[in-house]
Symmetry: C2
Subunit: 217 residues, 2 copies
DNA sequence: AACAGAATGTGAGCACAACTCATGTCAATG
DNA sequence: CATTGACATGAGTTGTGCTCACATTCTGTT
């Protein structure tokens, strides 16, 4: 169910061995992210950790930026997959229940998944290579991550979001997403496992906003 | 009224000529930010634009990171100053009015002030030099920008925020601040002058959250 | 005015990271 | 066995952040 959601890498590996190396590179990248942070991360060290020569890294990824984007894409796919499972298991009623689940799962991944705390979905990291203006302009690719994620969340929520105006709901989800991401980043800056008070406030913020959005009841 | 709020630079200039060069460096940095973005910005080019030798730049700023932090600090000082003026002039009643003013002024600066769109207050950019753990641990310095800004906003708001629990209000302001910043960043990623729909949603988000916070009335 | 010593200014050069590309490897086909 | 082309490799190129030995300017004392 999780679509391929990586950045515009160089060559997508098709053979078995290459695929393993590709994943190993992402794993090494994630591990290093937690240890040294995004700015201090070097492509040489990532390649070294993954036991892959530096040239091979650049066959799969256009550069450091693209490597991080690919990791963010994998994170997003995994998050949506896990959220989907929990929605089926726990079957919450109403948007408040959905919100709590979505936030809790996000927090769980921030704690457990290497690198997730540094890049999560890369929402704010559009970061066009600087100087070169964006020239891709088709479908999914040109709406930034934010809208793409909002649409996928909306699909997951399904009947929980009963509304007469789906476009307005998409807008609201984009806003809620960006806001929640920022507040949770703050929560994890304040405490290693996420400040509980800030996590609670994050839920309150989103619930309150979405409640006003669809049916003021 | 605006306190000195720059990063932990190297030497603070005291002489007249040095002060001018210091400001010129920040101006050049801001201009370049808008043209090439943060990652493509080079210290050499900043120094060249400011007509200042590269060595001098490194006397004032510990590095590129610190240069950007200093710009963010100047942005914050200017913002609070301008917001303060508008609060006195327009004297809004209630938190909703305060919110609208605060957001509008922020948007105005995003449009008008060079570099503001790239770094604003540097809320998320704590970015410890990577590898070295933070060793300053006194007063203002160790609570990140977020808390510092929230407290200053709280002071500006003054009697508008009548509450029995000031600490809870500070927490709410920190959350609102981080969320609003993220949503407005999104608004300016979507459209050069800021997507009006997203700006409106930002106000709605903050108003709704703060209304629930202090006096559910 | 003349001088000493401190403070500040300067830019060639160093260390190191991102990224390339000529060469090497190897499997499939004629 | 020879030919071909896809894929793998890491020494080398380019260019950035940053330093440091030396030059210049300022400040206070006699």
């Amino acid at each position: 169910m999780a679509g391929q959601n990586s950045g515009p890498g160089r060559r997508r590996p098709v053979q078995q061995r290459s695929l393993e190396r590709y994943q190993r590179l992402l794993d090494a990248c994630a591990g290093l992210l937690d240890e040294v942070g995004a700015t201090a991360l070097t492509t040489k060290e990532v390649a070294h950790r993954a036991q892959v020569p530096i040239g091979t890294l650049y066959q799969f990824f256009a550069g450091k930026e693209d490597l991080l984007a690919a990791l963010a894409g994998r994170n997003l796919d995994r998050y949506l997959e896990r959220l989907d499972h929990r929605l089926l298991e726990e079957a919450p009623a109403g948007t408040a229940g959905f919100t709590d689940l979505a936030v809790d799962e996000f927090v769980a991944m921030k704690r457990a998944v290497p690198g997730f705390g540094q890049v999560d979905f890369g929402l704010a990291g559009a970061t066009v290579p600087a100087g070169v203006r964006d020239d891709r302009h088709l479908l999914d690719t040109d709406l930034d991550n934010n809208t793409a994620v909002a649409l996928r969340l909306q699909a997951l929520g399904g009947e929980l979001f009963a509304t007469a105006d789906p476009a307005a709901l998409t807008l609201a989800l984009r806003v809620a997403l960006e806001a929640a991401d920022a507040v949770l980043k703050l929560a994890f800056r304040s405490a290693p496992d996420g400040d509980p008070a800030l996590i609670a406030e994050c839920k309150r913020l989103v619930r309150c906003y979405l409640a006003e959005q669809l049916g003021p009841r």
